[in-house]
């Protein structure tokens, strides 16, 4: 399948530009710079006035009334094609972008059954690109060369076998073929107009008159000679940017551009067949102008993590909204940048189904989904999970973690910890007067953890006058009693 994007330059502009009317109402030319500037693309208003791609800029300016000029950026076009190739990876594992021709080739022979036939697949591809603001021309054929050729036609058929391919290609005019000018003129001179005329001729004579290149082209078109194309290797990270046309002053108004960005991220990740658990949003701020100086303001970086991987824009957007509510903007926002470097393998579908069914305990490996929302509103530090550090002294026995990754179960308590009893609540040790009556629990002996200091302790439980059940220890070195926490 060949996907050609004839209006790529204009569509790229339209995506970056929020104000569509600027692109449609007045004539606009995308100009290739150089010694003799040429028109690379022209919008509908310009084409109606008589300017078209390939024209010299001076000629175009002569027919147009003050057109808007935009310089063509081949690098941006290559990046755009690579981005779209990433999106199209959802339809085939073998994708080959041809940035110079504004074309992406896909090997879809193996995907046709999955998507319910070639025609259905073509519509899926078209819809996916349309959703992103691109209008492709798509040709589907047995060979890449024929697909390329069909993509230049309007509404081509989809030839299923080699005979149908021959029939479909026959009416194609010879001008559409990628032939050298000399060959084309030679063929036209003997009265050939269409590809079908050429295919009827005897091969040895054609080879003798026009060289083996023409025969090779015909063989590639009909799929008699295979053409190997390198596979597109997607970048292993997500990086999307959006420039805002209007400055945004309130975090609430960021939701709409963010939604667009998340949609793009979703499409791209679906193509890469990857998922993610966290991403970073960068808010680019306007320069602050005072009367004398203009100061750049460092972009605001916000990272959002959640408990289980997922790519759906609808799931991420409410999280971001809750998170952004907490943020105060130091200056108006003029651009957004979304990036994620840690892409994960997608989770199996079943897990999320189970977790949503009420009355069933969740699968072991996942954290409750709600934690992402809590962490977005209350801050990452609000979610605390305790981990075992292996040190028997109770005040050092636990570490905290705030991330939302699944964790293995900690080891059982060490024998030394068992001696300290099954108290429930911990505090930093506080010196207290000796208790009148205490129920002894056991002695925490010396060990590797004391770093040479005598920290032997006798643990005990007592009840104070208020009725609290205190968890105590007596330091054997000093004889001083300390409160370690509460028994219950």
């Amino acid at each position: 399948m060949a996907v050609e994007l004839p209006h790529l330059a204009l569509e790229t502009l339209a995506r970056a530009e929020a104000d569509r009317s600027r692109l449609t109402e007045r004539p606009l030319l995308v100009v290739e710079a150089g010694a003799a500037p040429r028109v690379h693309a022209a919008n509908r208003a310009a084409r109606r006035a008589g300017a078209g791609p390939g024209m010299a800029l001076a000629d175009a300016l002569a027919v147009l009334d003050t057109p808007e000029l935009v310089e063509h950026d081949p690098q941006a076009q290559t990046a755009q094609i690579a981005m779209l190739a990433g999106v199209l990876l959802q339809f085939s594992d073998h994708v080959h972008p041809e940035p110079d021709a504004r074309r992406i080739l896909l090997e879809v022979g193996r995907s046709r059954r999955l998507f319910g036939g070639l025609a259905a697949l073509r519509e899926r591809v078209r819809d996916a690109l349309k959703g992103l603001g691109f209008h492709p021309r798509i040709g589907v054929a047995r060979s890449p060369a024929a697909a390329r050729l069909l993509a230049t036609l309007r509404n081509p058929a989809i030839p299923e076998d080699s005979e149908a391919l021959r029939r479909t290609l026959s009416p194609v005019p010879l001008e559409a073929l990628p032939l050298s000018a000399a060959t084309r003129e030679g063929l036209q001179a003997i009265g050939l107009r269409r590809l079908g005329d050429l295919l009827r001729l005897a091969r040895p004579e054609l080879a003798r008159r026009h060289g083996p290149k023409l025969l090779a082209l015909l063989d590639r078109l009909l799929g008699r000679r295979t053409e190997t194309l390198p596979r597109f290797d997607p970048p292993p990270e997500l990086y999307l940017t959006l420039r805002l046309e209007h400055e945004i002053h309130a975090t609430g108004a960021l939701a709409f551009p963010l939604k667009r960005l998340l949609r793009r991220a979703e499409a791209q990740l679906r193509g890469l067949n990857r998922s993610l658990q966290g991403m970073t949003l960068e808010l680019k701020h306007r320069e602050e102008h005072t009367r004398i100086t203009s100061t750049r303001i460092a972009p605001t970086r916000i990272t959002l993590e959640r408990g289980h991987p997922g790519i759906r824009a609808e799931d991420w957007l409410p999280l971001w909204q809750t998170r952004l509510e907490r943020e105060a903007l130091p200056a108006p926002v003029i651009g957004l940048r979304l990036r994620a470097t840690r892409l994960l393998d997608p989770p199996t579908q079943g897990a999320s189904l189970l977790a949503e069914t009420p009355g069933h305990p969740p699968p072991d490996s996942q954290l409750p989904a709600v934690l992402a929302r809590l962490s977005a509103r209350l801050g990452e530090q609000a979610i605390v999970r305790l981990t075992a550090s292996g040190i028997p002294r109770p005040e050092a026995a636990q570490g905290t973690r705030h991330d939302l990754d699944a964790a293995a179960s900690p080891p059982p308590p060490t024998p030394a910890q068992m001696i300290c009893g099954t108290a429930l609540w911990l505090q930093d040790p506080q010196p207290i007067p000796p208790p009148l009556q205490a129920h002894g629990l056991g002695r925490l002996e010396d060990g590797w953890w004391d770093r040479g200091q005598d920290v032997r302790r006798d643990y005990a439980v007592t009840r104070d006058r208020q009725g609290r059940r205190l968890w105590l220890y007596r330091c054997l070195r000093s004889g001083q009693w300390f409160r370690q926490g509460y028994w219950g």
Binding site: A355, E356, T357, P358, G359, H360, P361, P362, D364, Q366, L367, P368, A369, V370, L371, R373, L374, R377, L378, Q381, A382, I383, V384, R385, L386, A388, P394, A397, Q398, A407, A408, S409, P410, P412, P413, T414, Q417, M418, C420, G421, T422, A423, L424, W425, L426, Q427, R463, Q466, G467, R468, R469, L470, G485, Y486, W487, G488
Partner: protein, 207 residues
Amino acid sequence: MPSIDALLDHPALWRGRSAAPAANAPVWPSGHPALDRALGGGWPRGQLIELLGTPFGCGETRLLVPMLAACGREGYWIALLAPPATPWLPGWQPLGIPPERVLMIRTEHDRDTLWASEQCLRDPAFGVLLAWLGGPVETALLRRLRLAAAESQACTILYRPPRATEQPSPAHQRLRWKPDTDGLELHCLKGVGDWARSGQPLHIPMP
């Protein structure tokens, strides 16, 4: 007639004279036979329960250990919202509570605590929620929490100071606890069943 019987058996319908809530309502065992009887089988899931008393550390957490252990055994999560101290999980583990299922959520205000509780209740992963509230709370927020609790599978326990008894509460049950010589004394301030009507305190011995 069968339709009336079906209606009367509906668990959401409470009849003033009925002795206890529906027998098949899901509960977490309380671990104390007398308390199980008084509560109608155990700590009810899908209800909001207030435990009022002071000071912290008299055994009001230990009272719930059998419930927490049962909840952890079944693979549900336990949320501790704004606890006044840090849990010492090496002590919880021998009591049968899996430490990897315990989650602590720190908040700065009671409002946040209530909001976070409500969010947790909307997640089916949680089996028990323990939340500590310091000051007076708007009744509207408690009512929201009651609704969220009623739709969930979790047992929600709110620890509140004793002066909160002066304020009416939409909670399903309210229990007032006081430290005793060797355990806790529980008064039922609000609830269903014989215990609530009798007004008799219940003594729970603590190891």
